[in-house]
Symmetry: C2
Subunit: 257 residues, 2 copies
């Protein structure tokens, strides 16, 4: 038996998230169906993360176990052909039996994309949040630094998402940057609670709207109270951007050069 | 009565082109309906160009005539709200009675976008041509220079498109460039025949495939024979990119600096 780790990218606009669902089209189901067409047998697929309905992935991994002897490169090619235009298979490699697509993750980066201009971008439907009022990226970048560190992020966790033993997570970096009309929130951490990034973004938007003070993120975190944080930003702007299985922490590669 | 010139951008993936059609959804019809919602009266809309089904516009203009006194800025705002996510109203200005969105055009630029990588781009569905085999952008750029000049482009005109008196057009510039996995063909001219840009792209692709010789474009043009040119590239990669009403020819702004 071979354990394979397959890298994907997908446009989540047409899917009800990664996770298998009984009555809705999921990425996992579509990928499993595509794999079955390629391997001629039904295999399990285990994702690196859950993504909500409408959330995208610039990088996503799943592992599977198969007796098929198809070379990795050929599998990528055939899987690509079997998948819809909105899911790309990018790479595949054999991994140790002990490897797990979800539990072996060292850290992840999420990106949230905002089209920040009064006029819509007709080519970005479902791919970003439209926010017409001008955002002050320097103010928001400053505020976002307070997310960095090891905290109990219960205030940034949707109700129903507290199935874990602990809501403590470590955020390595957070930034708000602008590129023309596009504003990006990027956040790297060892794990993320349910809706955590979207609530972070909603909080930053409310800071911009002056309903939350720019320096109040530490208090909000300390309160452990979801109602103190901002709204949950819509799914369509969110991208799982990078999934790291190596031992290096974010930024270490650059530092060591 | 005021004559207004309105600037749009649109994602053509969901439309059967600009032009009004009896039994299909056109951009013109959608814009006319949006204007009616804003102005509370039905007004004519005259486009700067026809675009085929599935073709996009980074810049597109139409003119209309109305008795409404709504300020231009307000019209843009209201029209944006009345239009679907895939059509953006970008600007509006009053023009002379003699101005015509189509006949006053000095020159136009088209862009053709190719995703040139074996792995699909899941976010570019309907927005580019997927071409997995590596294109040699330098070879194609060299070949494309033979499009430049004043020629009878009958060999690059779809059958049924010869309703004009003359098929002579002037091409000011043509280029093939690469930006990572994206290859762009840009062409500027005083006018374009039916499917002309798409046949130019199809010809360049066949040059890449070695079924047309790289130096044969002058002969193909001289033949006036559509069957000598390459295939018609698909609509989804084509963008009307710039429409110029000023007196300056392409590049003159830069030259005069």
């Amino acid at each position: 038996m071979r354990k394979l780790l397959v890298e994907l990218a997908y446009n989540g606009a047409g899917f009800h998230g990664w996770q298998f669902q009984k009555n809705a089209c999921s990425v996992a189901q579509t990928v499993q169906d595509g794999l079955e067409a390629v391997l001629k047998s039904r295999v399990p697929v285990t994702g690196c993360s859950r993504t909500d309905a409408g959330v995208h992935a610039n990088q996503f991994y799943f592992h599977t176990v198969t007796q098929a002897t198809i070379p990795c490169e050929k599998l990528v090619y055939a899987l690509n052909a079997a998948l819809p235009d909105t899911i790309a298979a990018k790479s595949c490699r054999e991994v140790e039996e002990s490897f797990h697509a979800r539990y072996s993750v060292q850290w992840k980066r999420y990106l949230y994309r905002i089209h920040n201009h009064p006029v819509k971008d007709p080519f970005a439907q479902g791919l970003c949040l439209r926010y017409p009022r001008r955002l002050d990226e320097q103010l928001l970048n400053q505020a976002a630094q307070d997310f960095v560190g090891t905290h109990d992020f219960s205030a940034f966790c949707a109700a129903g998402g507290k199935e874990m033993e602990s809501n403590v997570r470590t955020i390595y970096s957070a930034s708000v940057t602008r590129k023309g009309d596009q504003v990006y929130f990027a956040v790297e951490g060892n794990g993320f609670l349910y809706n955590m990034v979207r609530i972070m973004v909603g909080t930053l938007l409310e800071i911009s709207e002056k309903t939350i003070a720019p320096d109040s993120i530490p208090e909000i975190i300390a309160s452990l109270d979801r109602s103190r944080a901002g709204r949950t930003a819509p799914a369509q702007g969110l991208y799982l951007d990078h999934v790291e299985y190596g031992g290096e922490l974010p930024g270490e590669t650059e530092k060591n050069k």
